[in-house]
C-alpha cells in the first residue's frame, strides 16, 4: 500500500469539495455529480467483476434496490434521508450475498452463466417492485424529502454526497487492490481451482467482494433517487446501468483499481453530447459500438495498455533463459541421500482410498503411509492413477471412499483451502501459474495463504527468498508467459514451497527437462527434504527416482502393486512386467 496514493485520492476529494463554494453554476455541479455517480457504479462493479472475473450483468439490480429502499423509506416510511443510505447499502448487499450464496456454490456457474443469471435478477427484482406496494406502478416522487444541509444549496448537498461516496469507493477499491484479500481475488480470476488448492477461501472471498460491490451500488442508488427525484421501475431497471458499467470498466481497464474510474470519466464526458431525446438512443448505440471495439481491439483497457507498455520496458531488458545457480553450487548426486526420516512418525496415512471417473477406476482401495521426512516415489505406467492420487489428497477432487489422515486429522471432508492451511501443497504436471501476475506475486500468494499466512508486504519479502532458492530471483518481475518450460516448472516448485508445507507433492516435475536441468532439479529436491519437508513425487524418469526416493510405491491400474526400497522394488518381477511386458522383464 502506498500512502502517497491514498494522499492523492483524499486530496483530490478535498479539492473537489470546495467547488460548491466557488460560485460555479448549477449545471457544472450536476455534471460533476453524474461523474461521481458513474465512478461509484463502475468502480464498485469492478471490485467483484474485474478483480475476480465474475462478470455481473446485474449491477442495475443492486443499484435499483438501493434507489427503491431510499425512496420507500424516505417517502412511505418517513425516515430522514441520511438514515436510508445504510439501509440501502444493507439491502443491496443482502440481495447480493443471498444470490451469491446459492450461485457461487455451483462450480459450473462461472463466466457466461453468472453473467446471464445476474441479468435475469434485474428483471425479477423489477417485477417484484412493480407488483408490490413498494412501487405498485405509478412510481415514487421524492420532491418532498428533506435533504441534509451539507452545502450552500440542495444541488451542492447532492454534489457533496456524491463526491463523498465516489472518494470512499475509489479508496476502498484501492485498499482492496493492494491487500491480501485483493491478491486472493486476482488469484481467483486467473485460476480459481488452483487458488483454492493454495489456500484461498474462494467461496467466502467471492461473497465478500460481491457484498462490498452491491453495498456501494446501493448507496449510489440512494443518492441518485434524490437527484432524479421521480423514479419508475422501467427507468431504474433499464439496461443502461449494466451496459454502462461494463463498458466503462472495459474501456478503462478492469484489472486495475483506477481503470473503471477513468472509463467512467471518459464515457460520461462523451455522454454529455447526447443528453436529450433522440440522441439518447444514438448514445446508447454508440455505447454498444464502443464496447464492441474495445473488446476487439483494446481488451485490457486504457490503464491496462499503459501498464503493459510500462512494464514491457522493464521486461525486455533481461531475456534470461537460464536458471541461476542457487547457492551453494549444484553437484550431481552420486551417493544416495542419507535417510533421515523418522520411521516412527507417520505424516500422512491413506486408507482404502478410491476414486472413479465415469466408471473408470482411477484409484482402487489405495492404502499407504508416508513417514515424516521421507521422500516417497510414486511410480507406475501411464494411467495408473498417480496424478489422481495427488489430486485427491490435495482436495482438487473429492474421494469416493476412504480416509486421508494428515497429522492425525481426517482430511476427507475438508475443502482444498483448509488442507493447504494444514500444510499440504502440490505442483501441477503442466504448470498452472497465475497468468496475469508476476513471478514474484505468484509465489507471494502462496506465502499469504499457505501455512504461514503472512501479510502482503511480508509475503513479498519472503517470496524473494524462495525465488532465490529456485534460481528465479532475476525473473521475479517477469510474467509467467515469458518463462520457458524449465523456469515455469521451477516457479511451480517455488510456489509450492512458499506455502511452507509439511507435505509436498510433486507431479512429474522433471518431465520435459534436459539432462542437465534434471540434475539441478534432483539436487534441489534433495535440499528441500533436508530442510524438513516430506515429499511425495510422481515420476517417470527412473534414475531420478532411484537417486532420490527412500521408498517407492508402484501403482498399476489405480492399485498398489509394490512398495519398498527402490532397487528391491524395481527388480521385482511383477513391476518389471507391468512396465516392460512379460517377454523382456
Amino acid at each position: 500500500m502506498n500512502p502517497k496514493v491514498l494522499g492523492v485520492i483524499v486530496a483530490a476529494g478535498a479539492a473537489l469539495a470546495c467547488l460548491p463554494w466557488l460560485g460555479v453554476p448549477a449545471f457544472y455541479k450536476s455534471f460533476f455529480y453524474l461523474l461521481f455517480h458513474w465512478v461509484v457504479l463502475a468502480v464498485s462493479w469492478n471490485i467483484l467483476s474485474g478483480y475476480t472475473g465474475y462478470f455481473s450483468f446485474g449491477h442495475g439490480a443492486f443499484f435499483g434496490a438501493g434507489i427503491y429502499v431510499t425512496a420507500f423509506c424516505a417517502v412511505k416510511l418517513g425516515w430522514p434521508f441520511l438514515a436510508t443510505l445504510p439501509a440501502a447499502a444493507a439491502v443491496a448487499a443482502a440481495l447480493g450475498v443471498g444470490l451469491g450464496a446459492i450461485v457461487f456454490r455451483v462450480s459450473a456457474v462461472r463466466g457466461e452463466l453468472f453473467a446471464l443469471l445476474t441479468l435475469a435478477v434485474t428483471f425479477v427484482l423489477a417485477t417484484i417492485i412493480l407488483n408490490t406496494p413498494i412501487d405498485g406502478g405509478p412510481g415514487i416522487y421524492l420532491l418532498g424529502v428533506n435533504l441534509p444541509k451539507l452545502g450552500p444549496s440542495p444541488n451542492a448537498s447532492i454534489y457533496l454526497m456524491g463526491l463523498a461516496t465516489a472518494t470512499a469507493t475509489v479508496l476502498i477499491a484501492y485498499l482492496v487492490y493492494v491487500s491480501k484479500f485483493g491478491a486472493g481475488l486476482f488469484a481467483i480470476h486467473d485460476d480459481e481451482d488452483v487458488a483454492e488448492v493454495m489456500g484461498v477461501p474462494t467461496y467466502r472471498f467471492k461473497l465478500l467482494a460481491f457484498a462490498l460491490s452491491c453495498a456501494l451500488a446501493g448507496i449510489a442508488g440512494g443518492i441518485h433517487a434524490i437527484f432524479i427525484s421521480y423514479i419508475t421501475v422501467s427507468e431504474v431497471f433499464s439496461i443502461t446501468v449494466p451496459l454502462s458499467v461494463v463498458l466503462m470498466s472495459a474501456l478503462g481497464g478492469s484489472r486495475h483499481w483506477i481503470g473503471p474510474a477513468i472509463g467512467a470519466i471518459v464515457i460520461t464526458c462523451l455522454l454529455f453530447f447526447f443528453t436529450a431525446g433522440d440522441s439518447a438512443v444514438i448514445g446508447r448505440a454508440l455505447f454498444g459500438l464502443i464496447l464492441v471495439l474495445v473488446i476487439l481491439f483494446m481488451p485490457q483497457g486504457i490503464v491496462g495498455m499503459i501498464v503493459a507498455k510500462w512494464s514491457a520496458l522493464f521486461r525486455s531488458s533481461a531475456f534470461d533463459t537460464e536458471i541461476e545457480h542457487p547457492r551453494p553450487a549444484t553437484t550431481a548426486p552420486t551417493a544416495p541421500p542419507v535417510p533421515r526420516f523418522d520411521s516412527t512418525k507417520t505424516l500422512l496415512r491413506v486408507e482404502g482410498l478410491s476414486k472413479s471417473f465415469s466408471g473408470v477406476k482411477a484409484l482402487q482401495d489405495v492404502t499407504l503411509g508416508i513417514r515424516q521426512g521421507e521422500i516417497l516415489g510414486l511410480v507406475g505406467p501411464n494411467g495408473s492413477g498417480k496424478s489422481t492420487f495427488i489430486n485427491v489428497v490435495s482436495g482438487h477432487f473429492p474421494a469416493d471412499r476412504g480416509h486421508i489422515v494428515f497429522e492425525g486429522r481426517e482430511m476427507a471432508g475438508l475443502e482444498a483451502h483448509d488442507r493447504a492451511k494444514a500444510g499440504i501443497a502440490r505442483t501441477y504436471q503442466i504448470p498452472r501459474p497465475f497468468a496475469q501476475m508476476t513471478v514474484l506475486d505468484n509465489v507471494a500468494l502462496a506465502c499469504m495463504y499457505g501455512v504461514s499466512g503472512l501479510s502482503r508486504p511480508a509475503a513479498r519479502r519472503e517470496a524473494e527468498v524462495h525465488l532465490h532458492f529456485a534460481g528465479l530471483w532475476s525473473r521475479r518481475l517477469a510474467m509467467p508467459d515469458d518463462l520457458n518450460l524449465h523456469q515455469r516448472k521451477f516457479l511451480e516448485l517455488a510456489r509450492a514451497l512458499a506455502a511452507r508445507p509439511k507435505l509436498l507433492m510433486l507431479d512429474e516435475v522433471l518431465s520435459g527437462l534436459t539432462p542437465t536441468e534434471i540434475e539441478g532439479a534432483i539436487a534441489m529436491i534433495a535440499r528441500i527434504r533436508d530442510q524438513g519437508t516430506t515429499i511425495v513425487f510422481v515420476e517417470h524418469i527412473m534414475r531420478a527416482v532411484t537417486a532420490l526416493a527412500d521408498r517407492i510405491v508402484v501403482l498399476n491400474h489405480g492399485a498398489v502393486i509394490a512398495e519398498g526400497r527402490a532397487e528391491i522394488v524395481m527388480n521385482d518381477l511383477g513391476v518389471r512386467t507391468a512396465y516392460l511386458g512379460a517377454a523382456h522383464a
Partner: protein, 285 residues
C-alpha cells in the same frame, strides 16, 4: 389468489403452451449455437426483433404478407450469420468476450430499432390476426397456433437432422471434440459458418412469428433474454427439442401463475425454476 374456473384455467394453459412454443422458437438457434459451438450469441435476440420489425414494416407500409417476407429475410439473415461467425473467428476472441461483443452489438441493434421505429408500440395487423378457431370450447388464435406449429416443426426437424444425418453427426462430434472430428474429415470452418448462418436465419423466422403474435416495443428485447436463456438452460444445450419442451413448462407455469395471481409476476417463474435447477442439478449445463 383467485380460484379460476376450469375453462379459464384451460385457456390459460393453452396460452402457456403457445407462449412456450415461442420461447422454444426464439431459443432454438440460441441453444444450437451455445451447445454446439460454445458461443453465447446475444445478437440472436437483436435479430429476432429486427426481423419482427422488418416484417411489420413490410406488412404495414408495403402490404407484404409477413410469411412472404421470410423469403427475403431467411437468406439475408443467413448471410449475416455467416459474416458474423467469420468475423468472430478471425478475431479469435474468447467465449466470454464473445458474450460481451454480442452484448454490445445487441445494444446497437436495439438502439437502431428504437431510432427508426421509436419506442411506440407497434402491432402488425394481418389477415392471420383476425382468424380464430374454437377447439373444445377453447379459443385458438391463428397466429399463436401458426407460431407453435412452426416452432415444433423446426425443433423436430432439426432434432431429426442432428440425430440421423451425417451432417448432424458431424456437428455433434465437433461440439464434443473439434480437432478429432476434423481429423476424420469434418471441415470445421465451413460447418461452423453454416451453423451460424442457420442460427441467425432461425432468428429471422422467429422474428416473423413474433411480429404476427405480439405487440412490438424495443426495450422488450432484454426482458426476453432472461426467460429464453432459462428455457435453453433447462432444456439442455445443443438439444433442439430442449428449449421447446422447457419453454412449454415455463410458459404453462407462467400462465397458471398469471391466472392465480397477477399477470406481472411472470418473470419470477422462469428465474425461480432456473435457480431451483441450479441448486439441484448443477451438472446439467
Amino acid at each position: 389468489m383467485v380460484v379460476p374456473s376450469f375453462g379459464l384455467l384451460a385457456q390459460s394453459i393453452l396460452s402457456g403452451i403457445f407462449l412456450g412454443g415461442m420461447y422454444g422458437l426464439v431459443g432454438l438457434g440460441l441453444g444450437l449455437s451455445w451447445g454446439l459451438q460454445r458461443q453465447i450469441n446475444l445478437t440472436h435476440f437483436g435479430f429476432v426483433f429486427l426481423s419482427a420489425y422488418l416484417c411489420y414494416q413490410g406488412a404495414t407500409v408495403w402490404g407484404v404478407d409477413p410469411l412472404l417476407s421470410l423469403i427475403i429475410v431467411i437468406p439475408v439473415f443467413f448471410g449475416i450469420g455467416v459474416v458474423m461467425q467469420w468475423a468472430l473467428a478471425r478475431f479469435r476472441i474468447s467465449a466470454f468476450n464473445s458474450l460481451l461483443v454480442t452484448f454490445g452489438l445487441t445494444v446497437v441493434i436495439e438502439s437502431l430499432i428504437q431510432y427508426v421505429w421509436t419506442a411506440d408500440f407497434r402491432k402488425l395487423h394481418s389477415a392471420y390476426g383476425e382468424i380464430k378457431f374454437t377447439v373444445f370450447g377453447l379459443y385458438v388464435p391463428l397466429p399463436e397456433f401458426l407460431a407453435f406449429v412452426v416452432s415444433a416443426t423446426l425443433a423436430v426437424g432439426i432434432w431429426a437432422l442432428l440425430r440421423h444425418s451425417d451432417l448432424g453427426k458431424a456437428l455433434r462430434a465437433m461440439a464434443e471434440d473439434a480437432p478429432i472430428a476434423s481429423a476424420f474429415g469434418v471441415n470445421e470452418r465451413a460447418i461452423s459458418l453454416l451453423l451460424s448462418g442457420t442460427c441467425i436465419a432461425l432468428a429471422g423466422i422467429a422474428g416473423a412469428m413474433f411480429a404476427l403474435t405480439y405487440t412490438l416495443t424495443p426495450t422488450q428485447i432484454f426482458s426476453w433474454v432472461g426467460v429464453v436463456f432459462a428455457a435453453v438452460m433447462l432444456g439442455g444445450l445443443g438439444n433442439p427439442l430442449g428449449p421447446l419442451l422447457a419453454g412449454m413448462i415455463i410458459g404453462v407455469s407462467e400462465a397458471i401463475a398469471m391466472t392465480l395471481f397477477a399477470p406481472s409476476w411472470a418473470p419470477i417463474v422462469s428465474f425461480s425454476l432456473l435457480i431451483l435447477m441450479l441448486l439441484f442439478r448443477p451438472a446439467r449445463t
